[in-house]
């Protein structure tokens, strides 16, 4: 405890982004699946990783942080979340995850809703998450809108990539959004792509609005042009094996689509086809209940089996709490010990929660590992980061140290002794 505090204090003269920081004497995991490096150094300059490894030359002007043998990893990247879209989920006014009374869908952009002052930011950060992909819910039709990559820093500007991807539902959820059948969902999708093609050819000729000539609103169809042209990834949430195959087949009609599957609970049943199509999958680690007829084959081995079949898989706490990402990754390691189950090695499990999500979006060159040139998102942990009882003791995002206190830690400190003192609790802080 004492030593951890000292470590944090050592950095109170926080490095500005432009500074050079050398984290020494760490058990360094690069986050790309490569093995741990004992007594390693991570060098950050201008907010980016310069080098990480065992023989890193440390410039004289570098601020040194002695990790004292602790684990050093890239920050966790939460594969698909709704972080920053709601302070309290059950309070509608403050919940920007979906817009069921809006006439728009694909055009909806989550970026204006991201609020880095939301308590969830600090709380998620305190469990080691430095970046998150954020997707909106679908509400009025099969398209949810445009998602973003954000960081969890206490900066006011936390959106790294706005309008990074489009989100669509083509499973049970998509069925209900489209009016009641999978056929309706697919025809809605095809129609949207065709309208996007027409719009791209001649934007001024697009009639717009829900009239006889076009179903989609102008803003929605405009948002789908980069999807149709393959300039923007299309995240497709499906679970049933048969639905997955239908999604793979979409590329025969729309060859440019840059597909990413989301959830894919029965992905293991068609893993070879997904791998052959070269389509990444973002999925939860722990889905194992047949909670719908589209996920009867759900098993925690889904992730490992798809990976073993050559699918590019990434971890997402879909519909859950992004701060639990490290726990999910650890569970994937647990599966490796169970006969008949398929898990991951520790090195791969960390990658599943760091570099692999970045790679699923084509951003592996910029985020998610401690390889040279990546963003300087580094966490020093008080133990094995994938274990349950561990937490960050120090975090850098873009090379800048982040506070790890939260509203929760303040409440905790206030009630460490529950009884009132000389003044009411309201005066203790």
């Amino acid at each position: 405890m004492k030593r951890i505090l000292m470590l944090a204090a050592a950095l109170l003269a926080a490095p500005a982004a432009a500074q050079t920081v050398a984290i020494t004497n760490g058990r360094v995991a690069i986050g790309d699946g490569s093995p741990l490096i004992q007594n390693g150094t991570v060098l950050i300059r201008n907010g980016r990783v310069v080098a990480a490894g065992s023989n890193v030359a440390i410039p004289a002007d570098a601020q040194r942080i002695d990790a004292q043998g602790r684990w050093v990893t890239p920050g966790i990247i939460a594969g698909l979340t709704q972080l920053g879209l709601a302070e309290v989920g059950a309070i509608g006014l403050d919940n920007d995850t979906g817009a069921d009374k809006s006439p728009f869908s694909a055009a909806i952009d989550v970026a204006p809703a991201i609020n880095s002052a939301a308590s969830s930011f600090a709380i998620t950060r305190a469990r080691g998450v430095t970046r998150a992909f954020v997707a909106p819910d679908t509400t009025t039709d099969i398209f949810g809108g445009q998602g973003a990559l954000i960081n969890t820093s206490n900066d006011t500007n936390v959106v790294d990539r706005a309008r990074l991807f489009q989100y669509v539902e083509l499973g049970e959820q998509g069925t209900s959004r489209a009016g009641g059948s999978r056929g309706a969902a697919h025809v809605w999708f095809r129609n949207a792509m065709l309208e996007a093609r027409d719009y791209a050819r001649n934007p001024s000729g697009y009639s717009g609005g829900r009239d006889a000539d076009a179903l989609l609103m102008r803003a929605d169809v405009a948002a789908l042009v980069p999807v149709m042209q393959g300039r923007m990834p299309l995240l497709v949430r499906v679970n049933r094996a048969a639905d997955i195959l239908q999604v793979l087949a979409l590329r025969s009609e729309f060859p440019n689509l840059k597909l990413v599957l989301v959830d894919a609970a029965e992905g293991w049943m068609v893993a070879r086809q997904i791998a052959a199509a070269g389509i990444p999958v973002i999925t939860s680690a722990l889905t194992d209940l047949p909670d719908a007829f589209e996920s009867l084959g759900a098993t925690q081995s889904n992730f490992g089996r798809m990976r073993a079949a050559g699918v590019k898989v990434a971890l997402g706490e879909i519909g859950a709490q992004p701060r639990n990402t490290k726990q999910s990754a650890g569970n994937l390691v647990a599966l490796a010990k169970i006969p008949g189950a398929e898990g991951l090695s520790w090195d791969d499990a960390l990658a599943a929660a760091t570099s692999w999500p970045a790679e699923a979006f084509g951003l592996g060159g910029e985020f998610g590992s401690l390889r040279p040139g990546r963003r300087g998102d580094v966490v020093i942990w008080d133990g094995d980061p994938l274990e349950l009882a561990t937490a960050p003791v120090l975090m850098l995002i873009d090379g800048v140290q982040q506070p790890l206190e939260t509203r929760q830690t303040k409440l905790r400190d206030r009630y460490r002794t529950p009884q009132e003192g000389v003044l009411p609790k309201a005066y203790e802080r």
């Binding site: 194992d288 007829f293 009867l296 084959g297 390691v333 274990e387 009630y415 529950p418």
Partner: protein
């Protein structure tokens, strides 16, 4: 009153015996006691029978006994469905016992989840299987959740094989102030819910504070619409129950009232109150209500703010059933903190880790591990063998089954998990699970893995889950 109850029970057991003897149909008039108003308890009786086991010895294990003790290089012997011996390496092992070398492995009592909705909100979660809330009136103590439980819910099997859960309480939902009776089950698959009922377990009654009842009924412009409305309906209901109890004492033959029977059971201390309640201030109000009407709250569930009143909870002897780190999903969960469990424990109050979730029930040990780590970071060091009390003994006490299970004491039910490593590590899973000495899960044997009717003939039948 006590005498009246005893008399009631006597006639009850007579009735039960008569029907068991199949002496032909009985009419009310043929009964000497002629339809007593007191509930003919027990009904819907447990038909659970332990499956056969063999004499089993697990050696070389790190054993947590569930009551706070640890044995290194320990041996445990299971025989006749019971814990027959627990001790160090010198523990004698009966001839012919099936032995498991558990070097590097851990043995614990089976986990007991005090808050589950398995079977009542079963998988698949379709409307047709939404049977947890009788949300037609805020006061529904007359419903019994066992009449909703679908024994084929695949979630039971997941809780067994991934979670090491050997017993669990199924509760009605929290739409109502008075949600109805709970039921405690052995986590052993059966054709009927009676076949899962934990023999001799007392009933519980679900109550709910806060947002849910006032939202459900307030949204219909009905009472309660506010927290004060919640309390007014609660108190008026308890007054009716007291009145019913007084009348019953005078007129044992009065017409039965199913709702009142459950409430009188609470007033008489036979039915345990499990009260969904998030906020500290509401828990304090409820504890005063219990004093006002002379009943006891056994446990507050989802008690995310227990840390604010851990001293009051200790003084009142009320358990807190908690998640490790659920936070912020609704307003009354806004002040949840990660150190809630260790702070409650550290204050000397009763702490329980619960799930309320078909996924979370598969990882209650992991929840406890997170809580231990968060405690340690603020200087509250709770040993793993002590922390295991949150997972088996404390929930067993809150369910009134601690004399039968919840710890590895001689003569108790052999509800045992052999873990393939440290059960507070994320890398560990159950390797084998015994319930009443019968091995019902073996990670090495696909035949020792429950597959519910629902899963037969479906994708993934019999797969690892």
């Amino acid at each position: 009153m006590r005498r009246h109850l005893l008399a009631g029970f006597a006639s009850v057991s007579l009735l039960a015996a008569c029907s068991a003897n199949s002496e032909g149909p009985k009419t009310a008039s043929s009964d000497p006691a002629a339809a007593p108003a007191k509930a003919p308890d027990p009904v819907y009786v447990s038909t659970y029978k332990p499956y056969p086991g063999v004499v089993t010895a697990i050696t070389g294990a790190t054993i947590f006994d569930g009551e706070g003790a640890r044995i290194d290089n320990g041996t445990i012997v299971l025989a006749d469905g019971k814990v027959a011996a627990v001790g160090g390496a010198d523990t004698s092992i009966p001839d012919g016992a099936t032995r498991y070398d558990a070097a590097g492995k851990w043995v614990t009592p089976g986990i007991i989840d005090v808050h589950s909705h398995l079977g009542a909100y079963a998988s698949p979660g379709v409307d047709a299987q939404s049977d947890g809330n009788e949300a037609t009136s805020p006061v529904r103590p007359e419903v019994w959740v066992e009449h909703s439980v679908w024994p084929q819910d695949p979630g039971f099997g997941r809780a067994l094989v991934n979670g090491g859960v050997t017993a669990l309480q199924i509760l009605p939902g929290s739409a109502n102030l008075f949600g109805g009776r709970s039921v405690t089950l052995k986590n052993v698959p059966a054709r009927t819910v009676q076949g899962m009922k934990f023999p001799g377990a007392p009933y519980g009654m679900k109550m709910a504070c806060g947002e849910n009842p006032k939202r459900v009924y307030g949204g219909r412009n009905q009472m309660p619409q506010t927290r004060m409305g919640n309390m007014a309906v609660n108190r008026q209901t308890w007054m009716r129950a007291q009145d019913y109890k007084r009348k019953l004492a005078k007129e044992p033959n009065m017409a039965r009232d199913l709702a009142m029977e459950t409430l009188v059971g609470v007033l008489d201390g036979e039915i345990l109150v499990h009260n969904h309640c998030y906020r500290a201030d509401e828990m304090a109000v409820v504890m005063d209500m219990a004093k006002e009407f002379g009943y006891k709250v056994t446990a507050f569930h989802h008690a995310v703010e227990s840390y604010k009143i851990a001293d009051l909870l200790r003084e009142n002897g009320v358990c807190s059933a908690m998640w490790a780190d659920w936070w912020g999903f609704k307003m009354e969960a806004y002040d949840a903190i990660n150190e809630n469990i260790p702070l409650v424990h550290n204050a000397g109050a009763c702490a329980i880790v619960h799930s309320d979730d078909a996924n979370g029930i598969q990882r209650l040990n992991q929840e406890a591990a997170k809580a231990m780590g968060d405690g340690r970071r603020i200087g509250i060091n709770i040993s793993p063998e002590i922390a295991w009390t949150w997972l088996s003994y404390n929930p067993a006490k809150a369910l009134g089954i601690d004399r039968q299970t919840g710890s590895l004491k001689l003569g108790k039910m052999a509800d045992v998990v052999l873990w393939n490593g440290d059960p507070f590590s994320v890398y560990t899973r159950p390797e084998r699970v015994w319930i009443d000495g019968a091995m019902l899960y073996d990670a090495n044997d696909p035949k020792r893995r429950p597959v519910s009717d629902f899963e037969l003939g479906q994708p993934g039948e019999g797969d690892v889950k």
